[in-house]
Symmetry: C2
Subunit: 225 residues, 2 copies
């Protein structure tokens, strides 16, 4: 007995939903949103074992969200579709608006109650032309090297303290990191504001910036990617 087309379609759509139903896979998608990567790199970044990571990636592939290609011995995965970014962001928006837990965690990250609205990508691009804004990339060095906003400084949260003396007290700072699920920028902004700096988050992260067609530069390194 065969099932109707309606049920068949819902099952396929549910396959995509299933891909989004595990924290591990969301973390993988977050990484892949920044650019293509090999299995081992992804396993390192997400803390998954190699075999487990490979299995999650195959599940993402079955859902059509990622594709892979071979590069020598390695298999490189990447997002199939930039629309996946929208899907991930919508997931975040809905969770933020409708789940108390999420709102609470985000408030906690921003320190106090005075988290300012994020800067839109268009606004940042416009202000970059004036040169009057300091852009802070809060991701690990290897991800920065693989691609970042032109002119951005790269400091992780732990390195942030050393940067403070070099900043003009009234400098306008915009921090960003990996994208919708990344919390580094939240934390960096909270730390900077606590010290009186005028810091705000960029809306979205590098993947969204790139998807909007804004410039990205990279310092490819020999041992990397």
């Amino acid at each position: 007995m065969s099932i109707g087309p309606k049920t068949a379609l819902l099952e396929e759509y549910a396959l995509v939903g299933q891909a989004l139903s595990s924290p591990a896979r969301l973390a993988l998608l977050e990484q892949l949103a920044q650019g293509e990567r090999g299995v081992e790199g992804l396993a390192d970044k997400t803390g998954l074992t190699l075999a487990n990571c490979s299995q999650h990636l195959q599940q993402l592939r079955r859902a059509g969200l990622v594709t892979s290609r071979r590069a020598g011995k390695a298999v490189i995965y990447r997002l199939t579709d930039t629309k996946t970014l929208e899907l991930m962001d919508l997931l975040r928006v809905l969770a933020e608006r409708n789940l108390d837990q999420v709102a609470q965690i985000l408030r906690g990250l921003s320190g106090g109650a005075d988290a300012p609205e994020p800067v839109s990508r268009v606004d940042l691009a416009a202000r970059m032309a004036d040169g009057a804004v300091t852009i802070l990339d809060v991701r690990p060095a290897d991800e920065f090297a693989a691609g970042h906003i032109p002119g951005a400084l790269n400091r992780t949260l732990t390195e942030l303290g050393a940067l403070l003396p070099d900043l003009a007290p009234d400098a306008e700072i915009v921090a960003y990191c990996r994208g919708p699920y990344c919390i580094y920028a939240h934390q960096a902004v909270a730390a900077l504001r606590q010290r009186g700096f005028n810091a705000r988050r960029l809306e979205g992260g590098l993947p969204e910036w790139r998807a909007d067609g804004f410039a990205v530069v990279s310092n490819p390194q020999p041992g990397c990617c």
Copy 2:
């Protein structure tokens, strides 16, 4: 040992993904997208048993996608957020673009290869002003009664044949149904085109039409909803 905020957030986002990971829940969301409904009505429409339906609804509630209120003995569920429509549609778009199975099923529904592009909602609204278009609502009568596009004819797929003699051979027909996951409109358009009519689908269904702020009329019936 407590988990970090990053993991906690991903787990919450995954909760929303989990809500989308079962065909039964997607069917419930499709129904709820059309308007609020009681548990029994939803169970009937989706073919779930009452208890099972209730459990799925509670899972949707835990994910923040639906809310409920009491109305006498009944509990009425509804979507929390119209953004959920966007999420559902994005799920469909990604599945359609990246899963061969889906593309194949949809081709099958449209009969041959000559499925025309859907009519956008703005276009339909404009053409309605001219009065030169026949709008066909392919949903069951009770859903039609609960809300439909002004001036639309209500015919299910099985009733469609009886309508044909009354249609002008060159009439422009636009068919719609429940929304992104509904296949009635596909099937109606295929049947009409096979008989030489100029029929097209509306992009999205009633929920999207309503969410865009276009007019919806209803014929509330005593025994219904």
